[in-house]
């Protein structure tokens, strides 16, 4: 238990610091790299939460595909690669107040609602070792949630076509 908590703490600190740097750094490419750290941290947290399949998907899709897209986006918009004097607009103070307030409200709400509740580490999902959760996930995607799955595939196709139509030069 200590190992898990220790892992969580280390990851959490790294993620929080990277998230702050992500939204404050003056270098666009650095921001992308901080995002990679946060996303990898999220994937690690998924493993802690016994969701290994989602963790692998997270690494493949986010870090593998989406981050490459984002870097292409940075290059194609010819964003200055080095440090830039102004990457934030003039509503920094109100935005900080709003997000701190939001965090305060959310944290109060969560502590109020869940307090010291702990995970039951003997339940089905937690004890689903050796890929059992993956079997369960795929079972329910391809039976119960087949129609939403097909809808998502059509959505991806539509997004693909839409992205080409929007971005092509003509």
């Amino acid at each position: 238990m200590l190992a898990q908590n220790l892992t969580f703490g280390l990851l959490a600190v790294a993620m929080a610091l990277s998230a702050i740097k992500l939204v404050t750094t003056k270098n666009v490419v650095h921001a992308a790299l901080y995002l990679v750290i946060v996303l990898s941290g999220v994937a690690a947290q998924y493993i802690l939460l016994a969701a290994e399949f989602v963790a692998v998907t997270q690494v493949l899709v986010y870090i593998g595909a989406i981050m490459v897209l984002v870097l292409f986006g940075i290059m194609l918009t010819r964003a200055p690669i080095g440090k830039t004097p102004e990457l934030d607009n003039n509503q920094r103070i109100p935005a900080a107040i709003v997000s701190l307030f939001l965090f305060g409200a959310l944290a109060t709400l969560l502590i109020d609602a869940f307090g010291d509740d702990r995970f039951d580490l003997n339940n089905g999902v937690a004890s689903g070792a050796a890929g059992l959760n993956m079997v369960r996930t795929s079972d329910s995607i391809f039976s119960q949630y087949l129609v939403p799955f097909e809808v998502v595939s059509i959505l991806l196709l539509a997004a693909l076509v839409g992205a080409i139509v929007v971005a092509r030069r003509d």
């Binding site: 969580f8 946060v38 969701a51 918009t77 937690a126 998502v152 959505l155 971005a167």
Partner: protein, 99 residues
């Protein structure tokens, strides 16, 4: 493990992302902040899947990842289009919708 340690971390990531959405002058960075927010929501789904012993949380997290991929694709295409037309990616400058 406490449930709250994951939920509060997710809430923190969410608020950091929200801050980024509000202040960044580069639309690509805004998109990255949105990704941060989506990930924090996904963390909630996974945490509750474990808490409630219900695999549906994993299923929905996967759907969210798929939808987020679609969103980034279309979002970046729009950003490119805006850049091509205005030589700028500052969302603050795109204000033709003002009343």
């Amino acid at each position: 493990m406490l449930i709250n340690q994951f939920l509060v971390l997710a809430a923190f990531l969410f608020c950091a992302g929200a801050y980024g959405v509000m202040v960044r002058k580069n639309a690509v960075l805004v998109l990255m902040s949105i990704e941060l927010m989506i990930n924090s929501v996904n963390m909630n789904l996974i945490a509750f899947a474990l808490k409630n012993d219900n695999i549906i949380g994993h299923v929905f997290a996967l759907f969210v990842i798929a939808v987020a991929a679609a969103e980034v694709g279309v979002g970046l295409a729009i950003v490119l289009l805006i850049y091509r037309n205005r030589r700028s990616v500052d969302p603050g400058e795109v204000s033709e919708m003002k009343g």
